[in-house]
Chain length 297, copies 2
């Protein structure tokens, strides 16, 4: 594919999800400038074929933001060194960060003040699917913005769910997914350690449960980390106080009681308070194991 | 297949799981006497080809028990009209009811007093897999008992996990599965109602989440009941206070804290207290919906 001007992308956030998006874009002929506050990630991305010279904002066609939270997202766009003011009109701003629907709406309004095209584009699927270009997107935005995002969505996704032009609807859907995902990780941790307490080893647990009605996507994805005692962060503990916090914040505003979500959040906070914040989120099992005096693999 | 004497089976409990086991046995040439306290289920089973004359216990080769709880199981075997005393020596007693490991051990000892062969054989998979002969078993028992159970297991299961000869190990594994299954049903209810509160309809919820990391076996199996407003019991609310009670009872004895399980149990108890005990367990969504003033489909 030709590397024409409309293929110039600035990708901010080269964590496990962002890095995969970047690789999928590179494979498909896009010019991608990768940015991350962690400079070694940026260098690694250049090694994969990312652009290694300074960004010229007027040549950028789309900005993709895949960072930890709302604060980082806002800072990138509108902070002291915010880029919104440097972007040319009609540049696409595609925010994949998990944020609240209200925040998405606020960012969209601020972007429209610069005549930028905002798309609310949270993702799901994990780092492997991200690297393969097989993410699931839950998007909302104007038809003009979605049209401009289409070539990016095409090469990075397996499925794109569209939730119309009301910015924030994609993020509302994402928060529901995160609610379930967070509960399921904590439930897996509760069950695998309960199993160990009953003499069922972790490997056998996965082998059996994955064939039974008790299985979940998260269980099959995260239990292997515990079995292999590999807590290098594919998705870190620190993500969950934030994401489940967003869920509970939305729920509270709607008078909705979410008791399982609250308990899952407590378990991740306990893990974080134990200094496990930067470990893989499967490390929430350590909270259960320590509480019951159980030895993990 | 010939209907020889060693194919005579007494099946007690013709609920959604037991009925399916019975049908799979009938398809494969077994003579099956079906019993249920609900006489219409018994008649329905005779309509499927079940034996319609009185059981002659000395001709029975195996008894399969698939009832609601420990009390019913014990009553069938050792109550005032208990059958253990009528069975010939070396008859197989296969208990598929969800019970605690301790109860399984107790029953096994009582059965051995009559020289009966006990097998701890809890199941997973739901009513559809049961009817197809594709259940998952988690079994423990002596090699003699397992050998005798093999022809039954062969025609009713997709997968048989063996946990050795320590009676109760199969039930320990089952309790871990139920822990997850119960949490996942309640989590699905929490999330689908939260979605409705955010303007995401139930059908769209299932369509999207089943493609995302938030999915679970239970979510995909139970959410359709809510979408179709079909609360006829495939698996009833009443099962959960019992099964999660078993889990928490085992956990407590081991000094294991299971906070998500406790909350899930509370939600099923609330449903039961609302008079929903005999509805499908997906009706736990009504607890959330009433609490938040949300209308289910």
């Amino acid at each position: 594919m030709s590397k024409s001007g409309d293929k110039n992308i600035l990708l901010v956030g080269l964590g496990s999800m962002g890095f995969g998006i970047g690789k999928s874009l590179l494979r498909n002929g896009f010019n991608v400038y990768g940015e991350d506050k962690n400079l070694s990630q940026k260098e690694k991305f250049i090694g994969e074929g990312g652009e290694n010279h300074t960004v010229i904002y007027k040549n950028i066609n789309a900005v993709i933001i895949v960072v930890l939270n709302e604060m980082q997202t806002k800072d990138i766009l509108f902070g002291d060194n915010g880029i919104a003011k440097n972007l040319k009109k009609k540049t696409l701003v595609m925010v994949c960060t998990t944020v609240s629907p209200q925040f998405a709406e606020e960012m969209s309004i601020s972007c429209s003040n610069y005549d930028l095209l905002y798309i609310d584009a949270p993702i799901s699927g994990g780092s492997i699917k991200s690297a393969e270009g097989n993410l699931t997107y839950m998007i909302s935005g104007s038809s003009e913005a979605i049209k401009k995002a289409r070539p990016i969505l095409d090469v990075t996704s397996e499925t794109v769910f569209e939730f119309g032009d009301k910015i924030g609807s994609g993020s509302a859907m994402k928060s529901i997914n995160q609610m379930l995902a967070g509960i399921h990780i904590a439930a897996m941790a509760e069950a695998i350690t309960f199993g160990i307490s009953q003499g069922i080893d972790a490997k056998r647990f996965l082998e059996v449960i994955s064939k039974c009605a008790g299985t979940s996507w998260m269980l099959e994805n995260r239990a292997p980390n515990i079995i292999n005692s590999d807590y290098s962060p594919k998705s870190s503990i620190n993500i969950w106080p934030k994401d489940l916090g967003i869920v509970l914040n939305i729920a509270e505003k709607s008078g909705f009681s979410a008791p399982l979500t609250k308990i899952a959040l407590e378990q991740f906070l306990k893990a974080s308070n134990k200094g496990l914040g930067n470990e893989d989120d499967s490390a929430v099992a350590k909270v259960y194991a320590q509480g019951a005096g159980i030895k993990l693999p």
